[in-house]
């Protein structure tokens, strides 16, 4: 019997924009099924481009992206059925109600009417949005929009969930609520890839982490492996080594006498 394919297998991925800017320079990465994987890097490092190449929103210049063994370009249908993205920017359709948002998303993925109805009710309930189901998305608060964005991503039961800074700008309560739910679905078997600027979140949630900078994977491994590689004691210090800002390390800060 052949071995299970990884949830995400990126090989020599290059993305060059028409203006010549190379956002990804031969990136290779593998995420195993069931893993909680962190992708960290400064703004403009290539995280979003990599995510967009994985979800079909960007066209790779060369290299390959496979999702559970399905090529994201040549077998896009199977690949896209297996993956979902909760994007950093809220991109809800302002003409739709919450229920329609989830129902139409399910429809785009070919889910039957009965299945869509059941799944919509389940997700609205899970994210405490049932009372708002008939309201238009534009009337929601920022936190509710964030919850709905995540619910929409989960609608078609993806096996690989990509979270692009899901907790940016959300309050503590909602952040904890979101993490509880994501931890739950990860335990149930959903592979998660997370990008975040909150290193404590990555530290707490992720099995493995990759650092990306200037369109290249600089390092990847467990937190211990990354700390050892950079000769530091924490993920934060390893990250500061990556971006060349060691002077910001809290271990260098000495308390001034009052």
């Amino acid at each position: 019997m052949s071995a299970k394919p990884p949830a995400l297998e990126i090989t020599d991925l290059v993305k060059r924009y028409p203006n010549g800017m190379e956002a990804l320079k031969s990136v290779s990465l593998e995420i195993a099924e069931g893993e909680f994987f962190g992708l960290l890097g400064p703004n403009g490092a290539g995280k979003s481009t990599m995510i967009h190449c994985t979800t079909g929103l960007a066209r790779p210049t060369s290299g390959s992206v496979k999702i559970f063994g399905h090529d994201a370009v040549n077998h896009y249908r199977e690949a896209r059925e297996a993956v979902a993205l909760a994007p950093q920017e809220i991109n809800l359709d302002m003409f739709l109600t919450l229920e329609e948002t989830l129902d139409l998303h399910g429809g785009y993925f070919g889910m039957s009417k009965a299945d869509r109805k059941e799944r919509t009710a389940e997700l609205l309930d899970a994210f405490s949005l049932t009372s708002k189901r008939d309201e238009r998305t534009r009337t929601l608060s920022g936190g509710m929009k964030r919850r709905l964005t995540l619910a929409r991503a989960l609608m078609h039961r993806p096996r690989l969930l990509i979270l692009d800074e899901p907790t940016a700008g959300v309050d503590i309560e909602l952040r904890l609520e979101l993490w509880q739910y994501i931890e739950k679905i990860n335990r149930e078997g959903t592979t998660v890839m997370l990008t975040t600027h909150y290193l404590e979140e990555a530290e707490r949630m992720c099995d493995r982490i990759a650092f990306i900078n200037h369109g290249e994977i600089a390092a990847h491994g467990t937190i211990e492996e990354l700390s050892a590689r950079y000769g530091v004691n924490s993920l934060e210090d390893a990250y500061l080594e990556l971006v060349g800002r060691q002077e910001l390390s809290r271990s260098h800060v000495t308390a001034e006498p009052v």
Partner: protein, 255 residues
Amino acid sequence: MSASQIRLLSLIRREVNRFMKIKRQTIGGPLLETFLYISVFGAALGSRIHQVHGFKYIVFVIPGLIMMAWAMNAFANNSSSILQQKFSRSIDDQLSSPASPLQLLMGFSLGGFIRGFIVAMLTLAVSMVLVSLPIREPLVLIPAMILVGLFFAQAGVLIGVRAEQFDDVALYQTFMLQPLIFLGGVFYSASLLPEPFRTMTRFNPVYYMISLVRYGFLGYKDTSVLFSFAMLLIFTGLITAVNYRIFVQGKYLRT
């Protein structure tokens, strides 16, 4: 129903849902505009122009107005819907779905086609109450109207996909679409034009559209029906092929 059919229906449903939610603007507005045309060009001006090719002026003009309603609405709906979704990035929901390029193109096209159909049918119904409007050649009229709707639905998709700001859409609508429609013979018979304008009209695709639609309603023609159908098919086929290529390549939509 197969997953593929559900996918396509959902894409169309999204587009119809959008214009039905703002129907005062998307259906009511165009209807009022068409009746203003009927009032001004038909009733007011028509009282001075007694007959055109044996028809009352208002009867001669109404087929063009019905066609124009379908065309303008198909175009406006698709161009603005796509551009608005590009701005809000809500289009990513469709683009990252397993929908094929053809399904995406059909979904985005048929919304405007359906809106144009609704406005055109309402205009037709009221026109038939107001004046005695014959339908002499339904077998020409129905396919001609469908092709006109498809052509302008595709034109709307093309402009919406390429546009980067709302000005771009307004630019095409004001400086290209409206002159083509007005100079194509909606309000007059092209055969009444002096040279070189009469010959110039033959390069305008709208001329063939209005000729077919007018023939379908009134049985009057000033060009060959077969030739007009051939031209309309070529224009619609070409613009659909251009759009399909854009959707396959992902140009303007996927980075």
